[in-house]
Amino acid sequence: MNTEVQSFIQKHDLLGCIQCGRCTGGCPVNTRTDLNVRRIVYDALDESMLDELAKLPEVWDCTTCETCAIRCPKGLKPMEVLIGLRNILVESGVIQPTVRDALESAFREGNPWSKPKATRSDWMQGLDVKIAVPGEKVENLIFVCCTIAYDPKVQVIAQNFVKVLNKAGIDYGFVGDDEVCCASEIYNMGEVGEDGLFEMMVEDGTELLNSFDTTRIVTLSPHCYDALKNQYPDLQAEVIHYTHLLKEILEDEKLVFTKEFAQKIVFHDPCYLGKRNDVYDEPRYILNQIPGAEQVEFSRNRERSLCCEGGGGKMWAETESHKERLAEERVRDAKELGATILAVACPFCVLTLDDAVKAKGFEEEMQVMEILEIAGKLIE
């Protein structure tokens, strides 16, 4: 037991913490939940406390936006401490049924949404989609994401991407029916460690993706982008987000937005694209090509973007707080700016912000749109 706990302290470099408070200070959910990651890092130094800490409900309030780790002056990753605690709980087996179901579904069906594997490509119906074949050369291998594939509210992202790719004449192929979850959210829900589900899925996923003859993998969700790019060490192809490719397409003038879109657009930086991977300029480049549109910026943009609370397993582990959701604060800020379009580049952000617009009753003034949805409109 002792050596095991030692390794928890060592693994997370807890002795390096100087309790400066930047982690909790920057934590977006600190205004609405009891989560205080600095305290947890401090308390975790006491080896006998770990099991108790793991049972704290606020451990599940972390959205894995990674602000705490980015701001830490000593190079610690407080967020990983929370995932470590979730792992203790997951291993003990006492977890919320929704989380358990998501993990089980990921194991059985290759997606956390409890949907059958066989229906993964149903969103493609009626579209002219090219499917990649293992061993056959394809320049861009498209990785869709479970949420986009199954949730009718965001399938439109993939559908519009097909339109864009076809119209621009891009050499591409979708992974198709064999695609399985990138496991980003499995990691965040603590199903990690030796023989963990996450490690298993990374291994299988790597084998699947390496079977294609491609130079790069284009992800639709920033969450898949982050996982494939940073947590799949043996992947052969380069991993990019679709905004990289779309910027390229527009730069090369393979596609030109010609239609007027007279809207006031504010872009919300997804944590997994911005903070975690420093992709800030590509989405803005794309939005700047839209004729007739006016661009405005949140005060909390780029490195300071406010998390929408969509990540970190939050889709399956609802927080107990009844205080205003961050997504609601976000759409209020957007309304103050007079924005008519709240543009995003992430399926989770679409879901949370769209809910917030409805909860606030802003449907008249404002619409949440994924960048690909806007692009699709402009090339119809």
Partner: protein, 666 residues
Amino acid sequence: MNNKPKIGVYVCHCGINISHTVDVEAVAEFASQLPNVRVAREYSYMCSDPGQALIREDIKNEGLNRVVVASCSPRMHELTFRKTLAEAGLNPYYLEMANIREHCSWVHGDREKATAKAKRLVAAAAVKARLLEPLQEKEVDVEPASLIIGAGIAGIQAALDIAEAGFKVYLVEKTPSVGGRMSQLDKTFPTLDCSACILTPKMVDVASHPNIELLTYSQVEDVSGYVGNFDVKVRKKARYVDMDKCTGCGVCAQECRLTGRIPSEFDEGMGKRAAIYLPFPQAVPAKYTIDPERCLMLTRGKCGKSPKCVDACGTGAINFEQEDEIVEFKVGSIIVATGFDVFDASRKPEYGYNDYENVITGLELERLVSASGPTGGDILIGKGDDAYVPKDIAFIKCVGSRDKSVGNEYCSRVCCMYTAKLAHLLTEKIPDANVRVYYMDVRAFGKGFEEFYDRVRREGVRYIRGNPSEVFKRGDKLVVKAENTLTSTPVEDEVDLVVLAVGLEPRRDAREIIDILRLSQSGDRFYMEAHPKLAPVDTATDGVFLAGCAQGPKDIPDTVAQAKGAASSALVLLSSGKVKVQAQVSHINEDTCRGCGYCVEICPYSAIELVTVNQFGHEALVARVNDALCKGCGACVAGCFSGSAQQKSFMDGQILPQIAALGVMR
């Protein structure tokens, strides 16, 4: 002289540093059996007086002509024992040291194995001792002058000390005026002395001292030579103003078409200047300079019908034809006092420094507070009619210090106190201000610091423990997002002004001086001293010394103290008039050298050159070492393809038998 080796071996206990792991008696007994060893002894402290006396007496009584001391690293005491040999009339280079402390007792636990290793080290040293040759130390004359690079308070103080001692000083400053960072400060902590009041007299002194040649708006381009004899080349940049004619009246700047349009470097961009300018009113020399990158005449060749400065100048001092001038001179020593740059706050984008005009740095606030600053000492944020006096003010400490995420792990040492000072000045200037300081630790370590921190707190400045994570705008207010770590409470503090206590960094062009003087950098990227404790102003390059923040962040008292230390070290050289040069230099056998020039290329001290010699009637290129420049690093020896380069005391014929005696080579 009978050169049959008679070796004395002396095994040191070093208190218990060596003897607790190594059986020193056994090592001495073993050594006494080695070939050519006449005596072998062990003693508690060989470096002590009685320890050295043992060696001296044995040399006299036993006729020793080689000595092996088995003790600590030669870095520690090689010079000590060389002196011992010399005192007994033996050539000091007949000494060989076996390092049985750092290389043995300190790093091993097993007494038996450590003792066996110590025996081998001693045996190997004895083998080499037999093969040592006597070397002669040479002396060269020292040029009685000093070059000081940088005329901030460090450079100024060092210049005055050396000049007062009667030696010539060349004081080179990159900007148009002396004074450096200290001249930008309003008050100094913790005494609240007016910075200008204590600095300006010294600035005037360096300009008027007969022994100081002041070269402002100048840069060192090249330094060659070696300790005692450096050749220096300085570029005096064109000011486009005749220094002899300019009276410093300032009419030109008033008339300049760009007046009030160019951000003033001295005011950290808080104020504006003209294209022809005096950096600040007390500047020394009080001569104007034209900014060649802004002046319309110099950039476009045209300034209206005619340049207004020319029309305005009563003495005809302006000269657009002026050119850079190269000045060359010789010095015996060099002091590097190039100072620091403040951390660029835009590298922490979460604090919004680039986004909001009411997020400013400590040095910017310093200019606002200063009576000679752009607002005449009023704390006004914003421009023109929109300017306002902030009421809620938050300081954020450790911006760019103690922060791995920006690559600066060190503490900048001055921010805690300058924050306290600025907070105090704000409460004085804005009596109803609500000032809070967000901190993670308060480091008030200097004389009078803790007392000052106490005073500032009691004046009502609130210290909140928690390093803020971000700053963003909400309505008219800035929100400082932090955690009060003492109460575990998240904070969204709405304020009118955020002051970032930015840390100190090495000069962004620090590389230039490194290349010119072959300096090293420590892990924090500041210039590295020769030894952090015992040679804090020396560098790896003999005759080159460090002073002030170029070596690492420090406050004014420490800077002045170090400047005086550097001046004193430089003076030791200058006043002795002679300098010994390294005896264990490299030597190239010109008979076997092929003149390929590889050693010339790899020598880090530019000590080797190719020369043409006559070999049996043929002209041939061979490499030759300048003994005065060679540091004995051995790079050429390792690099030489023909084995022609050999380092004295480390020749192949000496070290290969030594290595063989260790028993590690097949």
